[in-house]
Amino acid sequence: MSADRPGVAGVVVVGGGQAGFSVVSTLRAGGYDGPVTVFADEPHLPYQRPPLSKKAHTEPDELRVSLVPESFYGERDIELRLGDDVVALDTADRTVRSRAGLSVPYAHLVLATGARNRPLPVPGADLAGVHAVRSLDDALAVGRALTTAQDVVVIGGGFIGLELAQVARARGARVTVVELADRLLSRAVSPQLAEHLRRRHEESGVHVHTGTAVQAIEGTDRVRQVVTSAGTLPADLVVYGIGAVPRDELARDAGLAVDDGVLVDEQLRSVSDPRVSAVGDCARHPHPHAPGLVRLESVQNATDQGALVGRRLAGQPPAPYANLPWFWSDQGAVKLQIAGLRAPSDDVRLVAGDTPGRLAAYAFRGGRLAAVETLDWPAEHLAARRLLERETPVLADELTDTTLGGLARARRAAEVRA
């Protein structure tokens, strides 16, 4: 319980990632003055995760990745319990119990437990030299391994795998990416853009095998090779990123509705219990840009959902969660950015930028712009976000001889004239 106000029920946040941090910083900024407790199972101050797979740090670098310094929490009377996690939730008593044995009552509970890596389901996945990257400690381990690794096999051609492939390449290793699907980034980007991205990776010297299954990882003391459906690859380091699964078992064990994520309403409250909210990677929620319910794994989603709940709990008028989803991935020198949510049935049009390497994929649904993917074109990405956030739709025929940047400037000029 909050040390200075024992027994007073305030806000308890389970999870010290970007979403949990966003909840508590917004709560205090909004004037909430009750007890605030954050359980963070890792020993580190809440930190940024995106740099981990983009840089694979070679030394402890907590100062550079921490979201804010430790003094931030003390100054705001936020009790940050590092290295402790909630292991039991009693929604009838409105109490949580931590691994360290602490029992804390809550007036409102926020689940910000995030996701864990999908485990690699092949023999040898537990050999030394096989790593996933989700935590700072994971990234440090891979960073150290990369100082000597010569043959790196990356399993999974998604954001994380491709980011790590470029990190390994930059450290001078021979790098092979093995992807089960018939193309890279099959869940995240359009086939058209993914094809260009593949070419960029191959030009940098990364070997890419799509439509290829990993059958086993072999070695005695540590990894020596990876057996795939297309042959055997030598490896002294294997990194994998094959998706993530939400950490929703605390909610499930407490009897809350869970279906690949904690089920929440448009205010991000548990559909089973209005005293519980869920935010970030672990929450499955309605969204005006998607049919049914979605679970989004991104910094933007974690930050914005945390802020919505923080504002609501601080007493501000509630608003439904409707922020435009956006994503980014730096794959070596290539900057991939996505605004909006593309559906597989969308019509995709590729547009080349004014300088070499710049590319955009506009995804249209029913003749209206629904999502935009860009390579090395941040201004076009920002224009897409501005236009997709507005209520006036962008129609396909408005983009026959201009970019989104051009259209955004033209619309702004028209607004100024009017």
Partner: protein, 107 residues
């Protein structure tokens, strides 16, 4: 250790110090300065760390690079001649004390 004075939209000021060479965005975020969001963590990907430099110091700080220049056309608050993305501005002794105006909105 240059001093940075952040002038917030509500008229208040926040004064922080940070080592020369530190990125302005980092100086704001690590001191919890409200209004500098920095969603992308400083990779020139999001334009949520937009600031207005002091007019007298703007020239001394140098202008935006090409990518930053394009991105500044799409910030949430209006672009002005002294607009920069704070993740692309380095503190220096020549800019001590640095005056920075934080815009009304970032996202």
């Amino acid at each position: 250790m240059p001093t940075v004075i952040f002038q917030l939209p509500d008229g208040t000021e926040r004064k922080v110090t940070a080592a020369s060479g530190t990125v302005l965005m980092q100086a704001a975020v690590s001191n919890g300065v409200a209004g500098i969001v920095a969603e992308c963590g400083g990779n020139a990907s999001c334009a949520t760390c937009h600031v207005y430099l002091d007019a007298a110091q703007s020239e001394l700080a140098g202008g935006p690079n090409d990518v930053e220049d394009e991105m500044l056309d799409f910030t949430a608050a209006e672009r002005r001649p002294t607009s920069r993305l704070s993740c692309q501005v380095q503190l220096s002794d020549a800019l001590d004390p640095m005056l920075v105006h934080v815009p009304e909105e970032q996202v």
